[in-house]
């Protein structure tokens, strides 16, 4: 899960520093014309709206994510949903959970909130720490660079998944989403910082930065006026590719039982509770699974295409 972020970054970390990073409007228009990009954007808009308006939408659909509906399950069949396809009906748009009859659509909608909140929150923190550390290390060099690089080596050598699970299970309950965001960011910023550091290093020796330096600019204005604007493309692409890895990791941790605590819904946790029912009620794992898959896929498609623009591939 975490490996894939650094691999994607690895692929990305190769644009020639001599190239101009800023994309033309033509390239942007070209990817916006691709069916895969339109579909991905459309799906993500749908998920974001679902997440934002979850309370309103569930009022419309009639069931809250915590409400038990014993009438929708059949005790004679061990609590399986009544009706075909996991109990999909006009009442329950995506069926119900076996045994307690909670509405799956409502839980998907509230689960979208968790996924988006954690995916975007962790990305924001990772990017801020990663960019600050990467720029400082690359720009100042010397002892500071050595120190930051060692911390990065150390964090990247960690078996992150086992460690995240261990920390999350050791820490008190508290504010679970916030805790998840912090733990995810802790192990992810080095991958960002490494790429940013490399690009800062190469920017530092370019003529325009040298020129600004000779004209007497201090290092802070140099960073903000000359270096950061040139890193913006990299940052946008890495952020777009980071969101899906965080969403997948959150789902994975919730699947393993150390993420979002029940009864609050999360897609990963829904799949986990579907494990015991997989042979008799396959819709129960298929629905959250597809939502998770399509969300991660859509973000990755967008990130891939943005990356192609900035790498000059289009």
């Amino acid at each position: 899960m975490t490996a894939s972020l650094s691999n994607q970054v690895e692929e990305f970390g190769r644009p020639d520093p001599g190239e101009d990073f800023s994309p033309g409007a033509g390239a942007l228009k070209r990817i916006l014309g691709k069916p895969s990009v339109i579909l991905s954007l459309g799906f993500l808009v749908f998920i974001v709206l679902l997440a934002i308006f979850a309370p309103l939408i569930t009022q419309l659909s009639g069931y809250s994510p915590y409400e038990f509906d014993e009438g929708a399950v059949d005790p004679a069949l061990g609590g399986l949903p009544r009706g075909p396809l996991g109990g999909i009906s006009a009442d329950h748009w995506m069926g119900v959970e076996p045994q307690n009859g909670r509405d799956i659509f409502a839980r998907i909608a509230y689960g979208a909130r968790v996924s988006m909140l954690i995916g975007i929150g962790a990305t924001a923190i990772t990017m801020i720490i990663g960019v600050v550390m990467g720029v400082i290390a690359g720009f100042l060099g010397g002892f500071v660079d050595a120190a930051i690089s060692r911390v990065m080596d150390f964090l990247m050598a960690f078996p992150a998944l086992i460690f995240m699970i261990a920390i999350l299970s050791a820490l008190p309950q508290g504010n679970r989403p916030l805790l998840l965001v912090l733990v995810l960011s802790l192990f992810s910023w080095p991958a960002t910082a490494r790429v940013i550091r490399g690009q800062t290093l190469s920017l530092k020796n370019r003529e325009f930065v040298e020129a600004a330096k000779t004209s007497g600019a201090g290092w802070v204005p140099l960073v903000f006026r000359e270096v950061l604007p040139n890193l913006s493309g990299t940052i946008v692409v890495m952020a777009t590719l980071a969101v899906p890895t965080f969403i997948a990791t959150e789902a994975g941790l919730s699947f393993l039982g150390v993420g979002i605590t029940p009864p609050d819904p999360s897609w990963g946790q829904m799949i986990a509770s579907a494990v015991t029912w997989y042979s008799s009620d396959p819709m129960f794992f298929a629905i959250p699974g597809m939502f998770l898959f399509l969300t991660v896929l859509s973000f990755t498609v967008l990130g891939d295409n943005l990356q192609k623009i900035w790498a000059g591939g289009l």
């Binding site: 998944l161 086992i162 920390i167 393993l256 997989y278 042979s279 991660v296 896929l297």
Partner: protein, 331 residues
Amino acid sequence: MALYLVKRLFAALIIMLLVVFFTFVIFFQLSPDPAASICGQTCTPERIEAIRYQLGLNEPFFTQFFTFLAAIFVGRDYGSGASAVHCNAPCIGYSFQTNQDVLQGIIDRLPVSVTIAVGAAVLWLLSGVAAGVISAVKEGTWWDKGAMMFALAGISLPNYFVALVLQYLLVVQLQWLPFPTVVPFTDSPVQWFQAYLMPWMVLALMYASMYARLTRTNVIDTLGENFMRTARAKGLGRGAVLIRHGLRPSLTPIVTLLGVDFATLLGGALITETVFGLNGVGRYAYDAIAVNDQPVIMGVTLVAAFAVIIANIVVDLLYRLLDPRVRVSSS
């Protein structure tokens, strides 16, 4: 070269020390009192004190830390007098739940994790690299687009979801496979193979997708290099150029990636092992987390970190052997 190796090993040692330190802080300072959880519900304060003494939990933090560290090199005694238990070096403690030696527990479960890792790695290397090379050579064709779309889906599918889908399709619906039950290879090779087939496929799908994407990018980059044009100009055919001159520079980064990914799996394919009920190292850690068995969690974390760090060094050395450009620029 020797100096480089010494430097790398020294750095690795420091990173390992830090890993030990931080795991130690988290497990012994942040989590609930282990003595109380070992003692169970019918417990007296005296009994808790006795357990704390036996495990050395009454000592100050740094004493505990150095005792733990020393035990890895020289072993340690738990308790004193007649009731003392000696743990031989390298000692990383006993499970709070089963009193089993943690290192032994890991070694017992390692064959399962190795089997999963080796089988999956063979599958994903063959399919991922082949798909990537073909896509690069046929860049822009339907084959390329199709393969890359498949790979994109592969990296976006959560592996526990793939596991459930495979199990539902192959076991419940089509009944091509029996429900996976692990037996020793020597008992029934067929049943052994059937038990590992789905875990291999699940892991291989994810990694093969990543490798196919990376291989494709690398091969396309290499095909545009000057030395490739020179080789073509000498009169070599397209295929011969690719095989003789193109593959080596394109696949070197794959080798390095493989080393680290493989080592990560040795530390336990936690989710896959858990979903398929395979008793590997990852499952060991997962079960330990559920009951807050700190020595086991620490042990697995340490062994997993050790595997990744060693793999990183091996991979860097291999890189120097495989890629002459690195050798030249570093000497």
